[in-house]
Symmetry: C2
């Protein structure tokens, strides 16, 4: 691990300690992959314990070659009290645990191990911390954005006449992987599993989704009902490509639209309105602006342009127009009408004002932005126009 990453982790320990002090917690125990990576720079099987005063301590089940300071190997959480004694750690009376992520039984097992009857919620604290990116994380995201752009620039080369959406997606996946996408795409929330991203062609964009993503798609199987469904790519169809920017652990999120032949006027107009919404929000947004206001401004423009019925879906409408992005694809804040959050410098957000035009498909773009002191900086720089596939 390089020095800048080590310093980054130190700053997070400090921040979490300050939060614990405010919340009168004695210690925080983390075991969920994204939280472990956030605080330690790696995923392992075990626990990170951070006391309100003192250094972080690693309790590791696997791998068995885990190296570093303050590392103890452990088989099960019931060993924790003895280990705390052995390593002169004070047992916490007020503990923080990942209440929105740990399964009910695992959570209770940890409560029992620590001889406490309840704990504070580490998930909400970590999600809030993670929403404001550090300098090191911003650099990581920039690198992801560059590789994301590199992939998108070559997407037209993946197309051959007569393909299905799935065949097109398969070539895009290969391109992503050759450019360094590590595959696995993490999302927050029960059942929020998806593959490497989605390609939505024609009427498949109208399929209402069981998932809390912006758009749906019927998918290949009722076991994974999202994205491409085998639609043959034909004249007049839009093909929205929304594939992961997971080239570094800190991701970008981007969508672009390709077309088979020309799209109709309504689709072309809606696409331009999406670009206009981006430009308007980029002018308007800065730290302190309410996320709800961003959503409302987007919805107002859609309404003014007489596009409300197509905005964020056709048969079913998503209730947000953007979201934080980082280690997971759906981090805080949520850009939604009832969002209570305001923008903070250092947040990285994806904005995705999209329209579903019946019979044509999805149009509009998604970009990832860094919230700076003086506004938004775009991190996904691929050409925003609809590109005709040939």
């Amino acid at each position: 691990m390089k020095e800048d990453q080590i310093n980054d982790l130190e700053s997070k320990y400090e921040k979490l300690r300050t939060i614990m002090e405010l919340k009168k917690a004695d210690g925080c125990l983390l075991t969920v992959d994204v939280n472990l990576f956030y605080m330690t720079g790696r995923v392992f099987d075990g626990f990170l314990y951070l006391p309100v005063e003192g250094d972080p301590f690693y309790f590791v089940k696997r791998p068995n070659d885990f190296e570093g300071k303050n590392v103890a190997f452990i088989r099960k959480p019931e060993q924790l009290p003895d280990m705390f004694e052995e390593f002169h750690l004070k047992m916490p009376r007020k503990l923080m645990l990942e209440a929105d992520e740990l399964p009910f039984n695992e959570y209770n097992r940890l409560l029992t191990a620590f001889h406490v009857s309840s704990a504070q919620n580490a998930t909400s604290v970590l999600r809030e911390m993670r929403s404001i990116k550090t300098g090191w994380e911003i650099e990581q995201t920039r690198m992801s954005g560059k590789l994301h752009d590199k992939t998108y620039a070559d997407i037209p080369k993946c197309y051959r006449t007569g393909m299905t959406d799935l065949e097109f997606q398969i070539e895009i996946e290969r391109l992503m992987r050759l450019n360094g996408s590590f595959g696995l795409l993490r999302a927050f929330g029960l059942n929020m599993n998806t593959y490497i991203g989605n390609v939505l062609a024609g009427e498949n964009a109208e399929a209402p989704s069981p998932f809390d993503f912006a758009l749906g798609g019927a998918g290949q199987t009722p076991f994974s009902p999202i994205g491409a469904n085998g639609t043959k790519l034909e004249e007049g169809m839009s093909v929205m490509v929304d594939v992961a920017g997971n080239y570094m652990p800190y991701m970008t999120d981007m969508s672009r639209v390709f077309s088979i032949g020309k799209l109709n006027d309504l689709a072309m107009h809606a696409h331009q309105v999406s670009i206009d919404i981006h430009n308007e929000i980029a002018r308007y947004a800065r730290p302190g602006i309410a996320c709800a206001d961003l959503y409302n401004r987007a919805a107002e423009i859609a309404e003014k342009e007489d596009l409300s019925e197509y905005f964020m879906g056709w048969t079913q409408h998503a209730k947000f127009v953007g979201h934080g992005v980082g280690l997971q694809i759906n981090e805080l804040p949520v850009i939604a009408p009832r969002s209570k959050e305001a923008l903070i410098s250092g947040m990285i957000i994806a904005l995705e004002p999209k329209f579903v035009i019946p019979g044509t498909g999805a149009v509009g773009i998604e970009n990832t932005y860094l919230v700076n002191d003086d506004g938004l900086e775009k991190l996904t720089l691929t050409n925003e126009e609809i590109i005709e596939l040939k």
Copy 2:
């Protein structure tokens, strides 16, 4: 949905009702994707409620076009009591919830909604039910096995001299997807996320893993420390391919070994011993045989052949030699020394006695078997010898 699948679902309702009767539960509420698919044939956002007496009832958040009998649309679990009244469902006093899968806060939210202080564990009940496959599920698995075999037959065509393990894997992934793999690979357990499968070449097979899979690999990033790590494929290396058989929701699991040039005698011997272990277990296994006995027999053969130190890992050893497979890649039973389970007719298990030979890589095979009344039936039929890549 076809009639055989509808009958399949009916038989599961009946079985779960019988279990609830035995456990004196009034109803079972399911919301985890694999359990919903298992009981309804689709994944949706919402709840399936099965009372101990009466028909299943769907409470659906999304998609908004969900059709069928006994469907009510819902926004949040707090509406459940009113909806139970509206639809003349009896409120359960003894409820079953997915205690090993639902996050702590979501579980408690459901307890509160139902005005109960505790619930029985639906996860363990469903995992046990799911371990014994129905006739329809067995047919689905057979179809997956055939497509899995089709992909493996073409793997040598993915190779070009000078490739890295990752480049080789990327071409295999493309092949899988073209043959119908739907991508997303589900596993049971916190943090048990992996991509579409793993390709392990040379010394990378020695890397100890944070995951509870049979073998590890360092991976591309500490954020997803598993599988291929960019190793250049060179003379004398084994390349173990263990990629998903997720062509149907009910999966198969299979590993095969490819080589660059010839492998040394130790590796060739260990590979043959893996095949011998499969043959021995296939002769010996039948309903009623303890899973622990299967593990012990495999470990004994490895020991007799003086291969214990390489068995199931080198720097770190996995403590199992097989596992159930179905909607998730790691279902019950576990074929491990301390397993309490015995084989039951209808179980589908993957056996993977593997060896890691330092300097060479992983050898051995993995096959998926159906447990029949009179023994094991192999569902993955690809040639088991080491195939030299050219």
